[in-house]
């Protein structure tokens, strides 16, 4: 159980936006209350990444996470699944410290290319995560079924609904 630190005031949570920008693009934005170098570190250091990519409330277990955040380096996330663990992997094709990360998603044939930009302003960092799919159909397929993840999303929505608004 993770005890919430009740004595500390919870800072206002920044909103997350998700938008289907075009037939082949999905864009997610969020601002974080910290400098870009720290936010960037949390995206490129496997130990830190593991702590947030799959939060405790998610009905999935991340078994392992390896990342070599250099151009040409790879990453591999291994999730608990039956009958055998499911791997998500790809390569970094652009790594510009504290400002830009681009990686491929190679676990399927129609994987997107993910670009994350980090823009610091007044000690806060705006993240824009952009997913470009190879075709409209590839994104539609994700919109419609998202393979096995659809179930995960449904489970997730249920879990989130039970959590309710934080006091």
């Amino acid at each position: 159980m993770d005890a919430r630190r009740e004595s500390e005031p919870t800072p206002m949570k920044n909103p997350t936006t998700v938008e289907r920008k075009s037939e082949r693009e999905l864009v997610i934005t969020r601002t974080f209350n910290g400098p870009a170098r720290l936010v960037f570190e949390a995206w490129t250091n496997a130990e830190l990444f593991k702590r947030w990519w799959i939060p405790k409330s998610f009905p999935i277990t991340l078994l392992s996470c390896e990342m070599d955040a250099r151009v040409g380096g790879g990453y591999k996330l291994l999730f608990e699944a039956s009958p055998e663990p499911k791997a998500f992997f790809g390569k970094y094709i652009e790594v510009t410290p504290h400002s830009r990360l681009v990686w491929t998603n190679e676990e399927g044939d129609d994987g997107a290319v993910t670009t994350v930009t980090f823009e610091e302003k007044g000690g806060k960092t705006l993240i824009v995560l952009h997913e470009l799919y190879p075709s409209k159909d590839a994104l539609d397929a994700d919109l419609g079924s998202y393979d096995g993840m659809r179930e995960t999303f449904d489970q997730l929505a249920e879990v989130l609904a039970t959590l309710g608004p934080k006091n």
Partner: protein, 122 residues
């Protein structure tokens, strides 16, 4: 084909859904395909009137039609608004939960940096 633009498509969708007859038609088509004549009969409307409604739904991508012989058949279109909105919302919730956890990681990093900074100054 209607040109794709998310904002314009939403406008078109909302405009299309702002009418009780058109919402009824969508519900009907959700159950089965129907010809414009069937729909006009069901809603006691002229063929021209129903054609107009179908045209608006078609422009929003909510309905597609196909003419076979003399009969134009209508069915639900590729833009299933609810499904897509629901998916985007579950996607948003996923990222939101993820980013809340990232907030905590960043707070920890900030604290660690402050403590390390103090140590260095000593």
């Amino acid at each position: 084909m209607v040109q794709y633009s998310p904002a314009r498509r939403l406008d078109a969708s909302f405009a299309a859904l702002a009418d009780a007859t058109r919402r009824g038609v969508l519900e009907q088509l959700g159950r089965s395909e129907a010809s414009i004549t069937d729909l006009a009969g069901k809603y006691r409307m002229t063929l021209t009137g129903m054609k107009k409604h179908i045209g608006i739904l078609e422009q929003a991508g909510l309905v597609t039609t196909e003419k076979v012989g003399r009969v134009r058949t209508c069915k639900l279109g590729p833009h299933r608004l609810e499904e897509e909105t629901a998916w985007l919302e579950s996607h948003r919730q996923l990222w939101d939960a993820r980013f809340s956890a990232l907030d905590d990681v960043i707070e920890d990093l900030k604290k660690k940096e402050m403590i390390d900074g103090r140590k260095k100054r000593k």
